[in-house]
Amino acid sequence: MINSMQQWLDAIDFTNLVGGISLAAFIRAALLVIIGFVLARLARLAIMRGFGKALTPQQRLLFRRLVSYTIFLLFLISALRELGFNFGVLLGAAGIVTLAIGFASQTSVSNLISGLFLVMERSVEVGDVIKIGGTTGEVLSIDLLSTKLRTFDNLLVRIPNETMVKSEITNFNRFPIRRVDTMIGVAYNEDLQRVKDTLLHVAESNPLCLNDPSPQIIAQGFGESSVDLQFSVWGTTENYLDLRNSIQQGIKEAFSDGGIEIPFPYRNLYMDESSSPLPVRIVDSGLHTNKID
């Protein structure tokens, strides 16, 4: 169909020339751009369907972009040739142009190269939940210049790739299991062995809490009002939030049932003449005042 259309266009003698380019050449170039665009879109869809499960989201994104950009670029070059562009001259000018663009877009180039390093290093991939600076969110895409995050309150955060490469990043779901730490303070008069047994029972009766690596109780020291313990249990990364919630609820219930006190901060007040009692005044309905010594 394209051939017959081209023959038809060639057969017409267009006289409207722009810089020696015929209208037919313009139409051919436009057709090539449109076909290239459509083919690139089709290739993207085909990759989505064909490799949907075989590739990771990160690989899919890269592969999709590479194929669609290449197809479109090839058609664009063909279209420019139709319009009579001489690529030899263009390549000769490329050196000067590159230098000019390089000076003008240092930040963009830096981000571009950082993006390549980020993709090669594979410490962050699309779908990971990461923390960078004060931002925690799911990686939506790693683009040429920036990485896009979706925070848990559903905001889009754009982080320049250069910042990504320079900053410390915590990846929350790189490993399949992770530890949940809970800090607990118990009253000084509690039997610590009973507290430990209660905590281990809480872990044992929670199905999301892994048996191995086994739960641990680490004494953190003697606080102002309590003996401070760290209770560490392991769970799968996907169950992290459920485990964190259920383990804290379990501890609260087990402590309430077992009569184990989680103390409020105590404050002892001493007056200057500590031996003498403080005067207390009882106010009766605001009408009579009795003074007790």
Partner: protein, 271 residues
Amino acid sequence: MTIPIDQPLTVWWGEFERQESHIGRWQIGASALWLTRYPQEWRIAHYQSSNDPLASTISHDATVSHHDIHADAKVYRYSFKQAPTMLHLQPVLADRPVVIKPREPFQVQSGEEVTMYVMTPVWVRVGVGDSNNILRDFPTFRPSDTWFGSSTIEGELCYASSTLGRLRLEDLPDTPNRAITPIKIRNRSKTSLLLERVKLPIQYLALYRANNDLWTQTITLAREQNTDNATLQIRKGAPVEAGEAERLAAPNLKAESNLVVRAFSRLFSGA
């Protein structure tokens, strides 16, 4: 098949006819199930009513009302153009491997063989209709998760067996909601094998019924080299200890012959 009301049951699986808006409560081990048929819907409520892994109660009550459903029960609803009247309850094995931890680790010397008997909880598979349209599997007791692997980075998520393996069959507790698997461990390597944890690849096993007990095939884990891997061999049919047996469920996965699996592992330090 009609369910006798208020009579102790010996088995809980089978096919049952349910009438419209009829609610039935099954207590199977530690789990309670309320199954209700509506004209265009089957509704299942599930609640683990006990933390005892060896709970052995089996009962059925057809006189319960909606108010008797536990407030914390999780409800699952399945809609139909015309809800089937036939209900199928079937025992199935766990969908993940089960890790067994001996009470005290023991050594299997080079060239020696030991047989362990382990019990693993079964799941209740609820299906409806003449073609047994499977709705969902419910655990009779939900075992804890555990991690089985060389490190916290590499490994496999498994269930932890909440009862210990026994070296003698008679020492196993009597409970109808658990399947017994005899595991033969052969140490053909030149070094002794310290048994701290053994992974039972239960997804390759079928389920059998002998009298009112549930069994799987006998498996052999042969350790050839000084590694944590073993060659898995699955004996055909129910174990000889079970006597005459009827097959209830096929394996989830088909095992290739002489499949090498990671079967043994040291304990983690937990830090």
